[in-house]
Symmetry: C2
Subunit: 455 residues, 2 copies
């Protein structure tokens, strides 16, 4: 216990220098989806590899993949103790729309108890908390367990190379449990642990009509407008009850258990929670389910982007040659992304008029996951949260997608403890993303307690 107390004291004593170091990490614009930021993604990997070396990790390496590289490191000197594989991602989302940021996304700025920057919460802030927890432990003596690091640079683009990387490095990554820091809690004083995740299937749908943009006066009314066709098709993807109309979309959906519905109704994430965070006066969704159920346990379909014709200032009387939508589905067990892709194509085959042609490009695929709520690792995590926050942690489902959790189950045969500390109002993926600094400090403490307690 002395090691824990000393580690916690070390964390408390170093808040100020930690913040400066954290800003250094936040300044690197490692946007994985934009080719022009490739060098910045690599710089982030270098920064982390250096950090692992300073933590006395061994075999530290930046391992190439088909896309952005994986950062690896290990410390395997705690004989008879479990081996934990720490998963994280070091890439970030694009910051657009840029003009909505109060301060530039890659110039981290502290206002009140928060620090504002792209990636502050998702997930550089979580990774940084874990690194500092290890630093605090390492200063007190040898690590109390065996540690491996797998830090990827492609999470925000759907981890296209991760499953193959894990397949090809099964031995290197062998472990007893995974700690994934890319998670959230329900509030700064409401510790919680996620036991289910939604999957993701992300597509680009393009409708093509005339061979080039046409004059809307000369052709309007006689040539079918691809933007109109796209709107017709997208509008038809939900019925009046808010259900997705792709053929077979719900066939594989595992219904919510009655006891889960009861537990979900008690969570502090009900209608008001979503309305306040989103800033809307009314909610919407699949009939027969609460908001928490809709985002946690029901599959959904979203339009993530629309582009067609003239979108600049003023007017241009054009009948566009084509129209594009980014469309993605959040999936729940046992929906399969490949099957959903086929359902989307079947819908378009059935409903697209013969006046146009269409194409579906598959961008991201990942299944959902359900985790063991009763393992010793989950128990240790709950205890660490309890000790740090002084409150009983809640178990709940999460609407977002972390495909790696499913990959770890399937390929390495191990469960994941999904313990990150992103707050609901942190604005991840949004302008003015931020991190709550007191919560980050509690994250460091929780990680110290958790890592010390695994036996």
């Amino acid at each position: 216990m002395a090691q824990i107390d000393q580690a916690l004291a070390y964390l408390r004593a170093n808040e100020a220098p930690f913040l400066e170091e954290f800003k250094e990490l936040l300044r690197i614009p490692g946007i994985s989806t934009l080719p022009e930021h490739q060098a910045d993604v690599l710089r982030t990997a270098d920064w982390l590899a250096d950090a692992l070396r300073r933590l006395k990790m061994e075999a530290v390496d930046i391992i190439p993949t088909g896309g952005h590289p994986v950062v690896y490191g290990e410390s395997l000197h705690a004989e008879g103790k479990p081996t934990i594989l720490i998963y994280g991602h070091y890439d970030v989302q694009p910051p657009d729309p840029l003009d909505e940021w109060e301060t530039p996304p890659f110039e981290p700025t502290v206002r009140g108890e928060n620090i504002y920057a792209r990636g502050a919460s998702d997930m550089k802030g979580q990774l940084f908390a874990l690194l500092k927890a290890l630093e605090a432990l390492q200063r007190q003596g040898p690590y109390p367990l065996n540690i491996k690091f797998l830090l990827e640079g492609e999470e925000e683009v759907g981890s296209p190379n991760l499953a193959r990387f894990i397949e090809e490095h099964k031995r290197l990554l062998a472990c007893d449990v995974v700690l994934n820091c890319d998670g959230s809690i329900l509030g700064p004083d409401t510790p919680s642990l996620i036991y289910a995740l939604r999957g993701l299937a992300y597509f680009e749908v393009e409708i093509r009509g005339p061979k080039c943009d046409l004059h809307s006066g000369v052709f309007g009314g006689a040539v079918h407008n691809p933007a109109q066709v796209l709107c017709d098709l997208l509008a038809g993807m939900h019925d009046a009850d808010g259900r997705v109309t792709l053929p077979g979309f719900y066939d594989r959906v595992i219904p919510l258990e009655d006891d889960e519905r009861v537990a979900t109704a008690k969570l502090p994430i009900q209608a008001e929670h979503f309305m306040e965070l989103a800033g809307v006066k009314a909610l919407w969704g699949e009939k027969g389910y609460t908001a928490a159920e809709r985002v946690g346990a029901r599959p959904t379909l979203e339009i993530n982007g629309l582009l067609s014709g003239f979108t600049g200032a003023g007017s241009k009387t054009v009948l566009p040659a084509k129209a594009m939508a980014k469309v993605s589905m959040r999936l729940v067990p046992d929906q399969q992304p490949d099957e959903v892709a086929e359902q989307l194509r079947a819908y378009l085959r059935r409903h697209a008029p013969e006046t146009v042609t269409w194409e579906v490009r598959e961008l991201v695929h990942g299944p959902g996951a359900l985790l063991d709520r009763n393992s010793s690792y989950t128990a240790a995590a709950l205890q660490a949260l309890r000790d740090t926050f002084g409150a009983e942690p809640l178990l709940h489902r999460e609407g977002g997608s972390i495909p790696v959790v499913g990959h770890m189950q399937r390929i390495l045969g191990v469960d994941t403890v999904l313990m990150g500390f992103i707050l609901p109002d942190d604005g991840m993926h949004s302008p003015n993303e931020k991190l709550h600094l007191p919560t980050q400090h509690r994250a460091m403490q929780t990680y110290v307690r958790f890592l010390t307690s695994l036996t």
Copy 2:
């Protein structure tokens, strides 16, 4: 008649130097809708004022308006002869999508019998033909009639200041007839004259939902997606018969006369014509009407642009805060743009869900027009076309909008001869816009004949 023959000979003798001078005009990127091209719009006005001075026009002036200026000039020495007001516009459409141009839009390039550039046909090529017809006449002696010029720089943004300008300069612009060169013919060997135009009402519709872009996993399924709402609303603006559903949209539409339907059926602009020009395998439109009727005599609604959320390469799992569409209606007599704006708002009030807010911005307004098919000016125009093309010209309706024609009727009380020579495949408003040089030469000849024959 000697003056005509000498003028025609002059035109033939100067084709090569004319082409070089035309290229000079085409190189100026006078895009009226883009603020960053304001200086280029002014440069075009200067170029034309110089050209008018070289034609011995008097009182040449660049007159400010609320937006881009009007170029004016006059020659009023033909006593007892009619006064013709020559209308044209010197601004051009934006060239995007830029990457679809085979050669840069403002580097005019001759390939075969065509010259490719933004504005080549719409309408610098028409204006230039008229200037050269006047040059040919002026070299042979005094002008055979009185001439005034009104060249505006805002046609491609809907002429927001033109009606007021005409109101405020009624005496300056007083005339017997207007010659508007911003028109088309049905084919290089099919001369034609337009007697009806559609009006235009152009809007930007914005749907706003959450206060910022949200994570589609955390909020997807519970917060109504503005892009989805926009698609629902746009999809609902047409019914299954291709009719516009805005309340009252057809109330003021004057039905086609039976004899017009017979005449329209004989025009060489039937289904195959539209399919070939647009490069589509099937047409679409309002049930019960042919393609020529749909674009000429029926009102239509087009989506000119769509923008929402993430539209870059790759994927971003965002639930957008807002979604925008450019929507425009082509109107036929007696539809009124102001009433259509109210119909659009009524539709949105009725159908927009309470989960979002919406805004309609009015960008361009102009009513349609019906012209006198039996005036002496029309007869003179038909004769000039007949003599030049050696074929009987056709009278027909045009789907595009030229609001100034209505303004001239209403404010100056004069009819317009709408005689331009844009070809159906000239690609105006599209990438690779071009002008057919032999047709431009015939345009010059036709203008010489027409201007000489007015008495």
